[in-house]
Symmetry: C2
């Protein structure tokens, strides 16, 4: 058995059985080892940001890490932005990065780079295996790291000679990963007192507490209590929502709206959430969103056990029998005619099938989608978290592979879609049930409003040239067809709804160019 | 004047007048400043590896840096692989990376990352401006760094508040950049003695010595001297070749061929070149290419003045009147019928017009192109240098913008083309005269031979799944059309030649899917 085989066996032995990959020469022994172990599902991406974004989507849906297999520093670099996003989404991921043979590095061959340095800014743990004998132990440690609650980025660099050298070291079982940290009785008691005090209090909820059960617990706490509100963080890895669930709104992305929403609270309780900050700084506006006199209480940090804390808090408050405000299935009126931000929300609300996974990289087009779909069929909502655009198409891949029985609807801004457009090919290759809607506004629309924000009402030709995508106009049907994905167009609400229904009925991926 | 304007004025004042860009919110003040200065040509790429690869192509053709404008850590990360390639090609480049406002960083907003850490592995210099008053001086220093012979990567990180804050500091003139280092009389004399000794000696030539004049000087040294040979490095940023020039072959990429080529030399003279090493390590094969008993003489390092050293050497040897072996215009027979590695070379040789720029990311399909085109019309040959695939389409953009009057022929492997396929849109938007030939072999063909190299003759379904691009087959005509690029197909030599001629006659970009 060589080091490469010991890696694959260790991964499989520890329930890591999906590998998103774009390998190169230095990973050929790993490819051979993967080839010999058919239980490992290998999914090829034609650029590494597809690979890492797919691993993120998989982890968000299945709560366990996939492996990625990447080719030296440049392969890692290409996938870095979506590792950044996964990190911000608190996803689990094990990146296997091939490197030159240990003795070859000092010759500084063209593909040589400082892989550890590139990996560190987006990884919780970075380790380079020194020899074939170390691989199984190192891989087990990488798995433990990735599985650490709520999920971590673990990057394991394997020089080519560690892959091809024989080892007699056995496969290693990964140690159990550290679970979430429980709140103390004192914390619970303190928070309960704040809630009983009647002072205006905001529960800020994030991470795994945006699943069905913890949200219902939070719902018990706020039900009938006018002084207590709850909001989700602005960006969330996964939210469980729709009919039959406790609805929760998010702290808005636009800083002025966010400031307005929270301005009257005297206490903020963080539950797997962070003290909210503005996405960007703007001249004369604060970085922190909460008012200065609002007291922040950290009930459960982002690695805390928010679910348990909510259970304890409900018990402490005696709210166990309170009924949370469960959403009934209720669709907004189906708007007809032109596609715009408002009418789109109505169409999406009607289109979401039961148990769907919704991927949201709709950016400006999508600001109205979230409230419009609050009482649609029950679904999971996966967002861009780290602000690095180009996640939607890959995220849909990973989600569809993690949950092959669930329909995936991918809400996708055109500018962001172009970042990882190669992912459409993987959707076709794996025949994934993904319906992608491209919101074709032919611009980086968000930047046009940011331009106005810096005082440029009428940008000149040079600025327009950097913000408009209208010359040439992208033909998304051609692009999708060129990568093997069936596609159609919609230019009003009726045709969009029927196109989405067609996509959902398809056995593979389908793409809709929605003309705004 | 705010910091952003002081940046743009300083760039323009120091002859940096092209900016390849994909800006975001944190760069909006730069966009506004660029908008106010129409002498700066701004070129939008729909993903940052297009942006940085284009800057590389521009620098290779025009011998001066372009600026890039990138959006925080993820924007830099997306462009990192082609910065790596540019670094290995010794290209000049000034990366301007926007960051959060200085006071906003500590809040760790979603797009926050350690930009300096990400930039360091691919940059000669990384600097973060602390205030608006520093920008003009910092930009001038970045320009000096980039212009340092033969070209360096300079990354300047500008927090958003340094852009929007006013400054009264004047525009700064960049200090002259350090020029190439001259060889000493003693070195010249020592090398001349080696050449006179008659011992088998190899001149290894790289960098700017692969231009017309220095190659003719090297040609004078080897002419009529059976014991002296010359070879270019395996990968080169730019070579001037074809009819009327001194031909030079490259050290082959396959390690066995490289070892065979150099095995009998007792001396190697490096002229803007490095001691050659294998691209990858292979079990049982050496990392260094030269024989162990071959003495390596560093006449001019990669930042040395090889051209001057060759002049001095020619004078010392009294070879001034020797005629180098200038190539006469001579085309190989035009092969007809099926497209394959050999016949393709013949078609390309016939197709190259006078003064063309040829971009070579043909990978396996292109191994025969280089010898086949040695005596074609005179042209520049630009290669992938750093091994990070996905450079061809962007490199063609930058070359075409640097030399708008020269036709560009882009020889492109299909797998590599998919990495930066978004660049086709920029080719259309800027209406660049680029004829791209996609060698459509529907696989990562280089990896299939590497699989055989590790002993896997018959890869199973999982390995094939990682190496084949045939399910689904990419339709390059659809993809190109979808991004606004006219396209056609060729399935034999005659149709390929006529398609290339059609592309060259077009006023904008044209893409040919060549079926292998």
């Amino acid at each position: 058995m060589n080091g490469a085989e010991s890696l694959v066996k260790t991964l499989l032995n520890n329930a890591v059985d999906v590998c998103f990959t774009n390998p190169g020469t230095s990973e050929m022994h790993f490819v051979a080892a993967l080839d010999a172990h058919e239980k490992m599902r290998c999914v090829l991406g034609l650029q590494e940001n597809v690979v890492t974004g797919a691993a993120d989507g998989y982890a968000r849906i299945i709560d366990k890490p996939a492996a990625t297999l990447l080719h030296l520093g440049p392969g890692l670099s290409n996938g870095l932005a979506n590792i950044h996003n996964a990190n911000r989404a608190r996803s689990a991921m094990i990146n296997i990065v091939g490197d030159h043979a240990t003795y070859h590095r000092k010759f500084d061959a063209p593909l040589t780079s400082d892989i550890e340095a590139i990996a560190h800014p987006v990884s919780h743990r970075v380790h380079t295996s020194p020899s074939a004998d170390d691989i199984s132990t190192d891989a087990a440690q990488a798995i433990t790291c990735a599985n650490t609650y709520p999920g971590q980025i673990s990057t394991l660099i394997l020089p080519a000679d560690t892959a091809w050298t024989n080892t007699r070291n056995p496969v290693v079982a990964a140690k159990p990963a550290p679970g979430p940290v429980a709140a103390s009785e004192e914390q619970i008691s303190e928070i309960a007192n704040i809630i009983r005090s009647g002072e205006p209090t905001l529960l800020i909820i994030g991470g795994r507490c945006l699943r069905e059960e913890p949200l219902k617990l939070a719902g018990k706490i706020i039900a009938g209590n006018n002084n207590i509100a709850m909001k989700a963080e602005t960006s969330n890895g996964r939210m469980e929502r729709g009919a039959g669930r406790q609805d929760i709104d998010r702290i808005p992305y636009p800083v002025d709206q966010a400031l307005e929403m929270v301005k009257n609270f005297k206490h903020a309780i963080l539950i797997e959430a962070r003290d909210p900050v503005a996405f960007f700084a703007y001249p004369g506006k604060p970085s922190r969103i909460l008012p200065e006199d609002c007291i922040v209480h950290n009930l459960a940090g982002i690695n805390g056990n928010g679910h348990l804390a909510l259970e304890m808090l409900v018990e402490e408050l005696g709210s166990g029998n309170v009924a949370p405000a469960i959403s009934e299935f209720l669709l907004p009126p189906l708007v007809k005619g032109q596609l715009n931000a408002d009418s789109l929300g109505s169409v999406i609300a009607h289109a979401i099938p039961e148990n769907a996974i919704v991927i949201d990289e709709a950016i400006t087009s999508g600001r109205q989608f979230f409230p419009a779909t609050a009482t649609s069929n029950p679904h999971s909502w996966l967002q861009l978290n780290g602000g690095a655009i180009g996640i939607g198409i890959p995220l849909a891949i990973g989600a569809a592979i993690g949950a092959p029985d669930r329909p995936v609807i991918s809400l996708q801004a055109d500018g962001s879609a172009m970042y990882t457009v190669q992912g459409l090919w993987t959707q076709a290759r794996e025949n994934l049930k993904i319906t992608t809607i491209i919101f074709h506004n032919r611009s980086y629309n968000i930047l046009k409003s940011e331009m106005r924000g810096v005082g440029i009402e009428n940008p000149g030709p040079s600025a327009r040239n950097m913000l408009e995508l209208d010359n040439p106009v992208l033909d998304w049907v051609s692009i999708a067809n060129g990568m093997g994905v069936e596609a159609g167009r919609a230019n009003d609400c009726q045709s969009l709804l029927s196109q989405i229904q067609r996509g959902l009925a398809s056995q593979g991926p389908y793409l809709i160019e929605a003309e705004l």
